[in-house]
């Protein structure tokens, strides 16, 4: 905060309403790297802006037309006045009624100590609340996921009266329509014409104002900014206040109305300025950089000033013309562990199943978008426990929020601008990455998992247990466990289940099996150590009951996907992990997932003895189940004929029972149908039919060798035909090159083809051998080399039969 380089004590006499100014935001890009905070790798933001416009996230993504700026400004101003009303003490009558109690609430909900804002979460008793996704408050729409400015303290709004949208020039203290430029160092705005010497246009590259330049060059006498004329006070913009810590920014996480007194509340997820983090502002921090925290507070809607816009680096670099209220947020800051995590990484660094998992959250939010549903959701006083539960399971925690954030902003733009056809919708929903809204056909298994976990963690003692889940790929093992965990999480929030921490590990993602110790330890404590140290600490934690750090006595659920990859030579990793639950006070529940059914039997007996007898089998889906899965996904989308779905699911169920594959086939079929309908516009039926599914199945199940054989050269075809002929004649699978060559020459002779000669024939044989259409005896290439067809002769015959160039081939097949 101390390094915020501006003094804000100027006064300005008038406030001119509209101006066009120009700023260019530049970042101090070449800075030294410090280890404490992650450095932002942001492209420079350097274009100018002609219209000063308030960022309104929800409403107008379309730029105001540049031809009539004044009118545009007025429009915008009209809209802008409204949200400020509550803050400017022109209190509307509605809020006046609740004036006195509110003051009190505000005071106790706003503790001045900023880093522990989470403590201000009100311990709400059983109260009726109505949750909304969107609320219009004082003529501004606030939606879940919006970023807003929040008043910090009652006493700090001494200069609250002016809330200038457009900041004044630092030299002439007027704000008008002239183009302004922003200094990259102090973020101050200057009219181009007020500068000495005046600039004609916004320069390319970094630009630093003369005052900062003098300061930087280290001259003894500093060039002070001109004092504002008497009676005028230089109004501070919201941005300045935020960056100097007099305001807070937050993201709306929940919106609700207390039914009792009708007051609107939000749950705010705070942003922090770099000065508030443990490492303070680092040289590489951008001026407009904020950190998203995992810190929440319930505050009244009254405290919201207006929208701001917090963007990820990619958007930030594009948002140069978006005005003053644009901020950058690249990292999440964990207030408990005081660690940073990159948001973008978290968003895309996950496996597909995780993304499916995260995707669901968004969808569900969207689902309930339209109507205000009346939820009797009661928040019990377990709140505190919940937040710490999040802190514990930090491997998931970061991802949840990270994706939520990025997704919330990205998805609407993509989806709303384009009206999707039914087929496109179907394609989108059949993507493997799309998370289904419900998981049909696995309710029994999910129930079993739920009762297992609940039975394990609900006791006070939390006896350690272990469950092994197995099943062939694509039968929904991981997704079932994760959705069970999600439901449990919701129950924790309701308070019916005591808090726990959940650690999810995929065996495939571990560099080595031993690394799992580090991963678990990091998830529990937030610190990263080597695996040997981690093993020691975990042994202390689970076997001897010592707690790591300030972590309280919570049960820990450990989900290990692809458990079989943890099998080392002496199997000590699995032994240790499965031995912990058998210790008193371990409070560890282990869920292992693998494909192999008899993994426990393959392990050492001492390990299978410790693994216990809890097994759960996910069998392959049968065709009715697959049908149900597909139709559930396509619920509400009329794109498939019923028979087509049935055909696909029967086909898959006969071979593997893999739901992923069934979905892939249907998606591909939709693509095929799309293509068919595009080429043949006259088709009246806009549905995916059996033939499309058949085509997709052909593509997927049919081995590629037939395609290859169909497309090989003419001579190769003759060569293959000769081999098949030879096979029919002799009945021997194996033949020599010598014999094949003789057959080829005789075939060529009878059908009037020129015999190519032995050299070329040998080369053709080698080429086919390299494609592995035929198998050649390894070693030298010579006449007596043994050859064999790699595929059944029927396949070859099928591929070569109806050939237009060489119709006579069929005679030999």
């Amino acid at each position: 905060m101390a390094s915020t380089p501006r003094a804000k004590t100027f006064k300005s006499p008038t406030k001119t309403p509209s101006n066009i100014y120009r700023k260019s935001y530049l970042s101090p890009s070449s800075t030294s790297h410090t280890p404490q905070t992650p450095e932002t790798h942001t492209p420079l933001r350097r274009s100018a802006r002609h219209v000063s416009r308030k960022i309104d996230l929800g409403n107008d993504p379309i730029d105001a037309p540049g031809n009539d700026p004044i009118e545009g400004m007025n429009l915008i101003r009209k809209r802008e006045r409204a949200p400020r009303k509550p803050t400017t003490d022109v209190v509307p009558s509605k809020s006046k009624k609740t004036e006195t109690p509110k003051k009190k609430k505000k005071i106790d909900s706003f503790t001045p100590v900023s880093p522990i804002r989470s403590e201000t979460i009100k311990k709400t008793k059983k109260k009726k609340r109505v949750y909304y996704n969107k609320v219009e408050f004082d003529e501004t729409e606030f939606e879940i996921g919006d970023d807003v400015y929040v008043k910090r303290r009652e006493d700090s709004n001494s200069d609250e009266e002016e809330d200038p949208e457009i900041e004044d020039c630092q030299i002439c203290f007027k704000s008008d329509t002239n183009i302004m430029i922003e200094c990259d160092d102090c973020l101050g705005g200057f009219h181009l014409k007020c500068l000495k010497p005046p600039l004609k246009e916004v320069p390319e590259g970094d630009w630093i104002c003369q005052f900062c330049e003098v300061k930087k060059s280290g001259q003894s006498q500093t060039l002070d900014l001109p004092k504002p004329p008497e009676g005028k006070k230089l109004a501070r913009t919201m941005r300045e206040k935020l960056l100097s810590g007099d305001l807070w920014a937050a993201r709306i996480d929940k919106l609700w109305k207390e039914v009792d007194d009708g007051v609107y509340w939000i749950r705010a997820r705070w942003y922090m300025i770099p000065e508030e983090t443990v490492s303070g502002r680092q040289p590489h921090n951008l001026k407009r950089e904020l950190y998203l925290t995992n810190d929440f507070a319930d505050i009244e809607m009254e405290c919201i000033l207006r929208h701001c816009s917090v963007k990820c680096p990619k958007e930030f670099s594009k948002a140069s013309n978006d005005g003053d209220d644009v901020f950058l947020c690249e990292y999440e800051y964990d207030v408990h562990w005081r660690s940073f995590k990159r948001l973008a990484e978290l968003a895309d660094g996950d496996s597909d199943s995780d993304q499916e998992w995260n995707g669901r959250k968004e969808e569900e939010v969207d689902d309930s978008d339209e109507e205000m549903e009346l939820d009797d959701e009661v928040l019990k006083s377990k709140r505190g426990g919940l937040t710490s539960a999040r802190g514990g399971a930090n491997s998931r925690k970061g991802r949840f929020f990270g994706v939520e954030k990025v997704g919330m902003k990205l998805i609407p733009e993509h989806v709303r601008c384009h009206k999707q056809s039914e087929l496109e919708k179907a394609k989108a929903t059949l993507l493997l990455a799309t998370r289904p809204k419900s998981l049909p056909c696995r309710s029994k298994e999910m129930e079993e998992i739920t009762s297992f976990i609940k039975g394990s963690i609900s006791d006070d003692q939390c006896l350690g247990r272990c469950m092994y889940i197995h099943g062939v790929p694509g039968t929904g093992k991981t997704i079932s466990v994760l959705s069970v965990m999600k439901n449990l999480k919701a129950e924790v929030e309701e308070g019916s289940v005591s808090p726990y921490c959940f650690v999810e590990i995929n065996g495939l993602k571990l560099a080595s099996p031993e690394n799992i110790y580090s991963v678990i330890y990091e998830a529990l404590s937030g610190h990263r150590v080597g695996w040997k140290k981690a093993l020691q600490c975990l042994n202390e934690r689970f076997a001897e009951g010592k707690r790591i750090g300030k972590e309280d006595e919570k049960p820990c659920i450990l989900l290990i996907d692809e458990l079989d990859l943890l099998v080392t030579r002496n199997q000590s990793v699995l032994y240790n992990i499965l031995d912990w639950p058998t210790k008193p006070n371990s409070k560890l529940v282990v869920l292992g997932i693998a494909n192999t059914m008899d993994l426990p039997e393959k392990l050492l007996p001492r390990i299978s003895s410790r693994m216990g007898i809890q097994r759960l089998c996910f069998g392959p889906y049968n065709h009715t189940q697959l049908q149900e899965i597909i139709s559930t996904r396509l619920n509400g989308i009329d794109a498939f004929e019923k028979t087509a779905i049935e055909f696909a699911s029967r086909k898959v169920a006969a071979i593997s029972g893999d739901a992923r594959r069934a979905l892939e086939i249907c998606r591909r079929a939709a693509e095929v149908a799309d293509h068919r309908l595009n080429t043949n516009k006259s088709a009246k039926n806009q549905l995916v039919i059996m033939a499309d599914v058949e085509a997709a199945i052909q593509e997927m199940f049919q081995a590629p060798h037939i395609q290859v054989m169909k497309s090989v050269s003419k001579l190769s075809k003759i060569f293959l035909t000769a081999m098949v002929h030879e096979l029919y004649k002799t009945g021997m699978a194996e033949t020599t090159f010598d014999r094949v060559a003789t057959t080829v020459s005789s075939i060529c002779l009878t059908n009037g083809e020129a015999f190519p000669g032995w050299d070329i024939l040998l080369k053709i044989g080698c080429d086919l051998g390299e494609c592995r259409i035929i198998l050649c005896e390894p070693g030298e290439k010579h006449r007596l080399q043994k050859l064999q067809l790699n595929f059944p002769s029927d396949d070859v015959a099928f591929a070569l039969k109806d050939n237009k160039d060489l119709p006579w081939l069929a005679n030999y097949l």
Partner: protein, 505 residues
């Protein structure tokens, strides 16, 4: 029961029958089992012989007899006077006076039972291991009395109470040495799996002998220990040291150096180590340390045999005795003990089975609360035979038949082809050969076959399910395939499907 895979067809039918009856007519099956047992109670040998659920074949696996049954009885009486160490026992003993009636709906009681049955709750007395415990204790006592080093090796199957007994012995030794007025014995218990490097055990021992003197860098911990034990010590530091190495076979390295050095420490002239190794293998010392024999320092071996059914029953009863209410029918416990003893004699498994039977009961009662509001008859509020039988069949039943029946059709065809191929003396074939057979079957039934890549995928899936065994080879086609389940199982499983009936006959 792992051996089930090899048993005849009839045993399968039987197990399947149990599985189905339990759900549909649970009360009936209980009714018909209980009287039969009761009839035979007078002669326990007859029960194990005729018991429907224990196949006769398995009888040979039973440990022949309980060692010194009379003596252990005496011990129990003595030990029961011991102070209850564990809080759970204290808590339960508090409610002993109230004599509350057991009901599976009472969560508190349910929790207490579950806790009493949990693996991590060490019972206050270890039943059925008194003999071994005394032998270990005598050995340690002898070593301490004579101030000489010694080594002992304890072996036994998993879940036979080795580590638990060791904990007890350590405690006893501590008590004894304070009573006898001897200097306290340093004790180091190491689970060898938790060592990141095998040689770490020496630094741990050194750290125990000379705490805080780890700064010595010019010699390795092992050399340091060897020096320490080969020279005469000043009497002040000559306390005996008890080293317990659990899961000792994790110390086996390629050259067996670590294990050898460890045992050699006890042969050094001024060594004060009493080394006790614990592992599963019965012949670890013989196999890996033949040199020790020639040096005449072969460790004494104490074997923990698998629990017999009587022992398991006694332990279960002892664990449940601390509760004031009866949660299990005695017959149910006996069934569990018999089955587990026949399969492995693993106590952990027995406890798990009991718990899962308890959960079955819990689910049952929870389900029955809705429709009938009146209280249940006192009979069905305990874990009965049928619950236990369900839990046992969940645990020991080989799921091969159900697995095969639930497989996708093409995989069934592959199994069918494999069963046909390996009907004679042939034991394995390559994937290519199997593919040919598969194609033949497909052709004969006019089914369009899956391609070769798909075929190899299906083979891998079957391998994962433990039905086929696919070997390793460079090329997919040359991998050796063999059947891992009995042909009769396949025939039995596929008989249900008309499609396959002709094929296999």
């Amino acid at each position: 029961m792992p051996t089930n895979a090899g048993t005849s067809l009839s045993s399968y039918k039987h197990i399947v029958a149990i599985g189905t009856t339990v759900k549909s007519e649970s009360l009936e099956s209980a009714a018909y089992e209980i009287p039969r047992k009761r009839k035979m109670r007078s002669d326990s040998a007859a029960v194990s012989g005729n018991s429907v659920s224990t196949p006769k074949k398995l009888k040979s696996h039973l440990p022949s007899s309980v060692p010194n049954p009379g003596m252990s009885e005496k011990e129990v009486v003595e030990d029961s006077n011991e102070i209850l160490r564990y809080p759970v026992n204290l808590a339960v003993s508090d409610c002993l006076g109230t004599k509350s009636k057991w009901s599976p709906r009472d969560e508190e009681q349910m929790r207490a039972v579950k806790e009493a049955l949990h693996v991590s709750k060490a019972p206050s007395t270890i039943l059925c291991r008194e003999d071994e415990q005394i032998r270990i204790f005598e050995f340690v006592k002898g070593c301490i009395d004579q101030q000489k080093a010694g080594s002992l090796y304890i072996c036994g199957c998993p879940g036979t109470g080795k580590s638990l007994s060791m904990e007890k012995v350590v405690q006893q030794v501590g008590d004894w040495s304070t009573q006898a007025g001897l200097p306290p014995v340093d004790t180091l218990s190491v689970n060898c799996t938790s060592l990141s490097k095998t040689t770490d055990i020496f630094s741990k021992i050194l750290g125990e002998i000379k705490p805080g003197k780890n700064a010595n860098t010019n010699s390795s911990p092992l050399q340091h220990l060897q020096n320490l034990f080969s020279q005469k010590q000043e009497s002040s530091s000559s306390r005996m040291m008890l080293i317990i190495a659990d899961e000792m076979d994790y110390l086996i390295t390629k050259d067996r150096g670590v294990l050898y050095d460890l045992f050699m420490l006890t042969t050094l002239p001024f060594s004060r180590c009493i080394l006790i190794g614990v592992a599963n293998a019965i012949d670890l010392a013989d196999r890996f340390l033949p040199k020790l024999k020639s040096l005449n320092c072969k460790p004494m071996v104490i074997t923990f045999r698998a629990y017999s059914k009587d022992q398991i029953l006694r332990i279960l009863q002892e664990r449940l005795r601390v509760l004031s209410y009866v949660a299990f029918q005695p017959k149910a416990l006996e069934l569990c003990a018999r089955k587990v003893a026949a399969a492995s004699g693993d106590m952990r498994k027995a406890l798990c089975v009991c718990r899962s039977a308890l959960e079955i009961l819990e689910i049952e009662t929870r389900g029955s609360t809705g429709p009938e509001s009146q209280g249940p008859t006192p009979d069905d509020s305990v874990v009965r035979m049928d619950h236990m039988a369900a839990a046992l069949s969940k645990t020991f039943k080989s799921p091969v038949v159900e697995t095969i029946q639930s497989l996708p059709q093409h995989q069934q065809i592959i199994i069918c082809a494999a069963a046909k191929a390996f009907r004679g003396s042939k034991k394995d074939a390559t994937v290519g050969e199997l593919n040919k057979l598969y194609l033949e079957i497909c052709k004969s039934w006019m089914i369009s076959p899956a391609g070769i890549t798909e075929f190899t995928n299906m083979c891998t899936v079957l391998n994962d399910q433990g039905i086929l065994k696919v070997g390793q080879a460079r090329r997919d086609k040359l991998k050796r395939v063999s059947l891992r389940v009995d042909e009769s199982d396949i025939t039995f499983a596929l008989q249900e499907i008309r499609f396959f009936r002709n094929c296999l006959l």
